[in-house]
């Protein structure tokens, strides 16, 4: 094999690998957990109103109570979230780290204007004794932990 064609083939190969990495990045699906639980960040308490309406990426808005969590499947790293609380309407973009799945999106943190890094967090499932129904009702599950800066 000549040096030139070896070079050509290596370029094609490198190109494919780069393309694969790119596709992986923009195609990675995530499970977003939209969470309206009150959170404590840096000593400040963030909470939200009794009823908010949340929509991701322009889909059907869903109304949520003060301490609920909804699941949304999305693909790709960048999304927008639209929150309506009373007469306050907020639209923000955020990005999800590629390998974070599932990701917790804290509505109170976004509403309250907390620094961006607190918006998306890691979700740790509570101990397995709980049934999924109890989890969703938010009665005993621990508050989601905010990522350390």
């Amino acid at each position: 094999m000549s040096a030139r064609s070896l070079f050509q083939r290596s370029c094609v190969l490198a190109g494919l690998v780069a393309l694969s990495a790119f596709l992986f990045y923009i195609g990675k699906g995530h499970t977003l957990l939209i969470d309206t639980n009150a959170v404590t960040l840096d000593g400040k308490e963030f909470s939200c109103a009794d009823s908010v309406s949340v929509s991701i990426d322009g889909h059907e808005p869903e109304s949520m109570g003060r301490a609920e969590r909804t699941m949304v499947q999305v693909g790709g790293p960048r999304h927008t979230i639209t929150i309506e609380a009373g007469d306050q309407k907020l639209e923000q973009r955020f990005s999800v780290p590629t390998f974070l799945d599932p990701a917790l999106v804290s509505v109170p943190a976004i509403l309250g204007g907390a620094p961006r890094r607190y918006w998306i967090g890691k979700f740790t499932a509570p101990p397995a004794e709980e049934t999924p129904v109890e989890q969703m009702q938010q009665q005993d599950s621990p508050a989601p932990e905010a990522p350390k800066p």
């Binding site: 694969s20 992986f24 195609g27 699906g29 995530h30 499947q73 693909g75 799945d101």
Partner: protein, 363 residues
């Protein structure tokens, strides 16, 4: 009957027969035309690429490539991986295709090499090789995945802890190609992007035929000895034909499965070879000659038969199963018929050549 008409009938016997069958069965089945039209449009988008994969080996004189199943397996493995990694949408499908490439290339090389060692029997060899590779595929998918090959998503695994489940849902990428450019005409949904992909594939094949490698393949297909004497690397060209065919089959299988929306790990790929070959033959192709119109006509006719047989059987004799058996009989029979016609013509040609040789020698 004049000689030319006779030759036309023999050459296109298969297509004509199927056309008659369908013409008979459609009114008997009493299925609404809109239903048939929609199904055919969808299935065209789904299956055509796979049938395109069969064209090059025929051109290279290697007959019907039953080994395309190897490419289908590669495409399937690609999809299993992207499902595991959670890649969705178009990027997921593209990544699946890219993953299938190295697997297809390797398998195609193996297939081509083995076929080279069984010249004159490429079809049977490919046929058996497909079964053999299926065993290897099963070993990988049912035993190695989850144990030696890391699978990150436990939902894909069997309850015993290793091995992929029987059915893998493709929810993330389901119909991503079909829906990319949605088009509705007269109440029928048309998967435009899939058609574009098929057009691209067909275009690629047409362009390829004009390249040096394509011409070499054609020459090898026509006469191995002469092209070898002319300096064409016959063995290598044949292997390349099979390799390209396998890669195309892998891509085709990704398109096929995104439309279906689920992978049946053990059986999605098994009948692909048979269906695609039957479709191509029904479209008027033969073991030695196949073109893109054959592909399209074949897919349409094959699926019309597919759709119409069960209902026709039910209405005619009262059993839907009969229609189903009849359809399978036709699929297998078409391949048998095409093979018989091919071999018969070849034998007649050889006998004639021998007779002229003897007559010439005697004179």
């Amino acid at each position: 009957m004049s000689s030319r008409l006779r030759v036309f009938f023999i050459d296109n016997a298969v297509a004509i027969l199927i056309l008659l069958l369908i013409a008979f069965a459609i009114p008997v089945a009493k299925l609404p035309a809109s239903f048939l039209a929609q199904e055919i449009l969808m299935r065209l988008g789904r299956d055509t690429f796979l049938v395109l994969a069969l064209l090059l080996p025929i051109m290279a004189g290697m007959g019907l490539n039953f080994g395309m199943v190897l490419g289908a397996m590669a495409g399937q493995l690609g999809l299993i991986f992207i499902s595991d990694w959670g890649i969705v949408g178009i990027p997921g499908l593209l990544l699946a295709m890219i993953i299938s490439l190295p697997i297809s290339v390797c398998l195609g090389w193996v297939c081509g090499s083995i076929m080279n060692r069984a010249k004159g029997r490429e079809m049977v060899t490919g046929f058996i090789l497909a079964f053999f590779m299926n065993g290897i595929y099963m070993m990988i998918v049912l035993y190695a995945m989850g144990s030696i090959i890391p699978i990150f998503n436990p939902e894909l695994l069997l309850s015993r802890g290793y091995g992929i489940r029987n059915v893998v849902g493709l929810d993330g990428v389901r119909q991503s190609f079909d829906n990319l450019i949605p088009l509705h005409v007269a109440g029928l949904k048309i998967p435009v992007f899939s058609y574009l992909l098929i057009a691209a594939g067909a275009g690629l094949l047409i362009w390829f035929r004009r390249t040096k490698l394509g011409q070499d393949m054609r020459a090898v297909g026509q006469d191995r000895a002469v092209s070898g004497a002319a300096g064409i690397p016959v063995e290598r060209t044949r292997i390349l034909a099979i390799m390209i065919s396998t890669v195309l089959a892998g891509i085709g299988q990704v398109i096929f499965l995104q439309n279906l929306g689920t992978i049946n790990t053990t059986s999605s790929h098994e009948q692909i070879g048979m269906f695609s070959i039957a479709a191509l033959l029904i479209g008027g192709a033969s073991v030695t000659k196949a073109s893109i119109p054959n592909v399209i006509v074949g897919v349409i006719l094959f699926h019309l038969l597919f759709l119409v047989s069960p209902m026709a059987g039910k209405n005619l004799i009262g059993s839907g199963m009969l229609g189903e058996y009849f359809r399978q009989f036709v699929s297998y029979g078409v391949i048998a018929l095409a093979l018989v016609l091919y071999e018969w013509k070849r034998v007649t040609r050889e006998n004639d050549a021998r007779a002229t040789l003897r007559a010439g020698g005697a004179a």
